[in-house]
Symmetry: C2
Subunit: 456 residues, 2 copies
């Protein structure tokens, strides 16, 4: 469809769409917290009902945990290619709540941005896909068969979803796997994401005395789990910030010279990012440029750390235990199972032998994904994006993960196209997550243009 | 007074005393939490009123923070020696609340033990002093002038109390400084404590990005405050558990051969302690016997550690900040101001230069205290204890601190006598703190015997 007609349609619908978007965002579909299971189900039902209203067949499919929304539209044209859209309706926990300027599940539109948990990741970016489909169906301009899979546990590893997928293989055959869960380098440079990192996680616990004990009576007598946890975590990286887990880096692939050159050329706004976060970009391995560290190197991060007394004043105890939450981002080439084995073995080896050490949780997100700029569908996406770009369309590697994309690509036979309009200022996973109407509009134009102009 | 008469008096009063003890324990006089300031004042008022009912002059004296209970009794005998009793009515915070079997400020008597925060430390041990005074005053058997100083911020460093003391110097002159805030090695071996460790504290914070950020987008790009905090804390000790802070150990005094031999001989119940805590006694510096590690060596402990997300499931963030609470126990010889300077300098030196590092709080408890077994009042206390001992009276070094004892000894000119009936099973500073009626009775007999038989 022409850009002018799409823009006119957007203008006419904007007020109604904002209200629908708010309804979607107001459901606290937090997958990490079992207390919100019913909210996840409610969110899936909202989506299925919304999709049926647009004219698609839609149903919920059960997994061992959260339901998946599956929807389908068959184009009258027997030669139409098939697009499989993958997104997720679950969101990250909103903690710390006190840091939000408006409540995370009371979506608030101010200064051109919608503030809510999930405003961008991934409800916001899924919403413009729905609105593009609505528009094309109303106008008779949809040139693709459409399959949608919108799952409910992307933020907690997609495990049950991954287990359920093989049974649905026949429904998933497609030409292109569209994912809109990524970022662009800026509003002026819409971006095709050429790679995602894989991920894994481990929750660990060190138990000392059976209860918090007096640090005078027992200090020097017994080991302190907080001190020992610090020692244990300090073994994960060397003094140069390089991962020091034996074997972990062995299968990291060296990127091609072409990919390195493209990453080097991509207009990342490093100075802006550093300003906005208020910290230097001196994390990770020293001596490696930032685009390579994020795009081509793995990480091991501590996401949470807890031991003893953290209230007001002084409490002179040796804590009973210490816990830590660890996640890793994996680079291309790394086998996630092997990487997890290396990490677990390292932790066991370096834990103090006289304290009880437990792996409380562990799991795999998925392997890294690496695409080629020579792939025709990638070139097609770039052509669709070109009229939206104030500057050049960028090709970049994202540090994040969408665990399931690799498996979905294999099962569907489709080429993944990762184009999203997220920006760092959206603060996904952080308090005050937001997404601007301008980003939403760009996403709408991209998807509507893509699905009304088959490759050729 | 004869032991038989004292025991008969105890029996006759026991039921009433239990109720009074409960009333004392039910006041949540938590000094670390400003929200409990009014409770601290109420507790001091309860004590003053109780002491007046016993026949002492009693008043509250203001400090910059919590009031001090000061009480006085002058013996008719002009040659009577003067005892200055020092205790504290404040208690440690009760967290974690969910670990208590009965609420910390609803004193519950079961199986011969009183369960409550403060049941032992120091309300319980102060209570038997009050009941010994009550008994001797009723029987006309008190052979000492008595001064009592019961303060309200021992658990948070006694700073304001210490600042107020010099102005009261004239009221404090005494021969013996009685403190009942220590432990015995067992019920069978009442114990004279020959040393206490000093203490200091520091609260630290490392700030990274202005808010929790996505660990995929920014992992490898910026430093992780939780990881950096682990690295920082891991520099405090070397691989042998020895303090690695430059200069910190320089002024630690080597104990005399006589003291080492006495500590070696004291019947510490190491195996029982290890069993009860459920951990090996392999903390502190390797290669040094446990009695020396606790009695003669300093520690640096982490009492609390907090960063990022510690709720259910996985949250893939780089935390905005990490905090830690640190306390140290100081050995004889160490200047606390110097030790604190060494620690702070070390932390600044090892903090990652590109993150903001703050000392959020810092302070001194006091220096260590070291007594001599040749001191006549020490010998006198041992003679008073001998009839109560099923085995030998022990002389031992305690790992804990009573910050103010050194200063009080200097101002009063008195010899400190540290005899207490605490046991490890009392779980002071921990959930389910308790004190048995049997321990209470031993304390009562010790104080009543002491104060009815002047040295000679």
């Amino acid at each position: 469809m022409e850009k002018a007609r799409l823009e006119a349609h957007w203008e006419a619908q904007e007020a109604r769409w904002l209200e629908e978007w708010k309804a979607f965002l107001s459901i606290p579909s937090i997958s990490a917290d079992q207390a919100h299971l019913a909210d996840c189900v409610r969110c899936a039902e909202w989506l299925a009902s919304h999709l049926r209203a647009l004219g698609l067949e839609a149903e919920l499919r059960d997994t061992a945990t959260k339901p998946v929304v599956f929807a389908r539209y068959n184009c009258p044209d027997p030669d139409a290619p098939t697009v499989l859209y993958y997104g997720h309706y679950d969101v990250q926990p909103p903690d710390p709540l006190e840091a939000w300027e408006s409540p995370p599940f009371s979506p608030t539109y101010r200064n051109g941005r919608m503030f809510a948990r999930g405003a961008q990741d991934n409800k916001g970016q899924t919403f413009y896909v729905l609105k593009a489909l609505e528009t094309l169906l109303q106008q008779g301009a949809l040139r693709y068969n459409v399959r949608l899979l919108i799952e409910g546990e992307e933020e907690t590893s997609s495990r049950a979803f991954a287990n359920a997928l093989p049974a649905w293989e026949a429904d998933l055959k497609a030409d292109v796997l569209m994912v809109c869960d990524t970022s662009s380098l800026s509003l002026e440079t819409p971006t095709v994401t050429m790679g995602l990192r894989g991920s894994l996680f481990a929750g660990i616990r060190l138990d000392g005395p059976g209860y918090d004990v007096h640090s005078g009576s027992f200090g020097g007598l017994i080991r302190n789990p907080a001190v020992e946890m610090a020692h244990l975590l300090s073994t994960l990286h060397d003094a140069q910030g390089r991962i020091a887990v034996k074997g972990f880096l062995d299968d990291v692939a060296e990127p091609s010279e072409e990919d390195k050159a493209m990453a080097h050329k991509a207009p990342y706004a490093w100075a802006d990012i550093s300003d906005r976060l208020g910290v230097a970009l001196d994390g990770g391995e020293s001596g490696i440029p930032p685009a390579y560290r994020v795009g081509f190197r793995p990480t091991i991060e501590v996401n949470g750390l807890l031991s003893g007394y953290n209230g007001p004043g002084v409490k002179t105890i040796i804590p009973a235990y210490a816990t830590a939450k660890i996640t890793s981002r994996l680079a291309a080439g790394q086998d996630p199972e092997r990487a997890l084995r290396c990490l677990i073995a390292h932790l066991h080896q370096h834990a103090p032998p006289s304290l009880r050490f437990h792996i409380e949780a562990q799991g795999i997100g998925g392997p890294a994904l690496q695409l080629s700029v020579h792939e025709p569908w990638i070139q097609h996406a770039a052509r669709i994006l070109a009229p939206l770009a104030k500057r050049e369309v960028a090709f970049a590697w994202e540090g994040g993960s969408i665990p399931i994309v690799g498996q979905l690509a294999r099962l569907s036979g489709a080429t993944p196209i990762l184009v999203g309009f997220g920006l760092e200022e959206d603060r996904i996973h952080s308090p005050n997550e937001s997404f601007s109407l301008e980003q939403m509009r760009m996403g709408f134009l991209y998807v509507a243009n893509f699905l009304s102009s088959p490759r050729g």
